[in-house]
């Protein structure tokens, strides 16, 4: 009986380990978050990632890849809602600015200036967000 319990606990631990490794992989797949955290890529008011300064070819390629995926997602939603791609992108930027930019990460409003989020201070929202 005791041995059986031990086995069950071991199995449970195994499942938990698997789940946590899956969660880790999930975090690893957060390309946009990693790019923001790198400090060389920031969020723009137009709904796309942009280069804050200079970056390696690898970083640029990752950024382009994410932006292409964003554009595809924006295009699909724009078609569904009868809006333009730019409108969907701008609307999504409002949400990104409100919830996705971490402390110390960069953002760019329509004035074209890159700014860094200071600690937990709220990120100003682009004026088009209403």
């Amino acid at each position: 009986m005791n041995r059986r319990k031990t086995l069950m606990i071991a199995a449970g631990l195994g499942i938990a380990a698997l789940a946590s490794s899956a969660a880790y992989a999930y975090v690893q797949g957060d390309a946009a978050g990693q790019l923001r955290a790198s400090g060389v890529v920031g969020e723009q008011a137009d709904g796309y990632l942009g280069l804050v300064g200079s970056a390696s070819a690898a970083i640029r390629a990752q950024m382009d890849s994410v932006n292409i995926q964003r554009r595809a997602a924006y295009t699909q939603l724009a078609t569904q809602r009868g809006a333009t791609i730019e409108e969907v992108a701008a609307a999504t930027a409002c949400q990104i600015f409100a919830s996705r930019i971490g402390p110390g990460q960069y953002y760019r409003l329509p004035d074209g200036v890159w700014r860094q989020r200071n600690g937990n201070e709220p990120v100003p929202r682009p004026s088009h967000c209403g």
Binding site: G29, L77, G130
Partner: protein, 78 residues
């Protein structure tokens, strides 16, 4: 120059007369259009063109819930 100056020749029902009337009608129409163009008044203030925002703000506001879902459904992209 108008339809009032049609000569007796113009009023002929012959094809030639018809063509002449047609030409005069065209000319009158062109004159009328020109007169219309002159009457178009320029707006008092220049039209503002903002290159940054060619978007409709009310549409952006309406899309907020969709945008939130878009972000949630595409982890790694946003």
């Amino acid at each position: 120059m108008s339809l009032c100056n049609l000569t007796r020749k113009d009023r002929d029902a012959s094809p030639k007369g018809m063509a002449r009337i047609g030409r005069k009608l065209l000319f009158a129409a062109a004159l009328a259009m020109l007169a219309g163009c002159v009457q178009v008044a320029a707006p008092e203030r220049p039209i503002e063109i903002n290159l940054n925002i060619n978007i409709r703000q009310e549409v952006v506001v309406r899309l907020q819930e969709d945008a939130r879902e878009l972000i949630q459904n595409n982890p790694g992209v946003f």
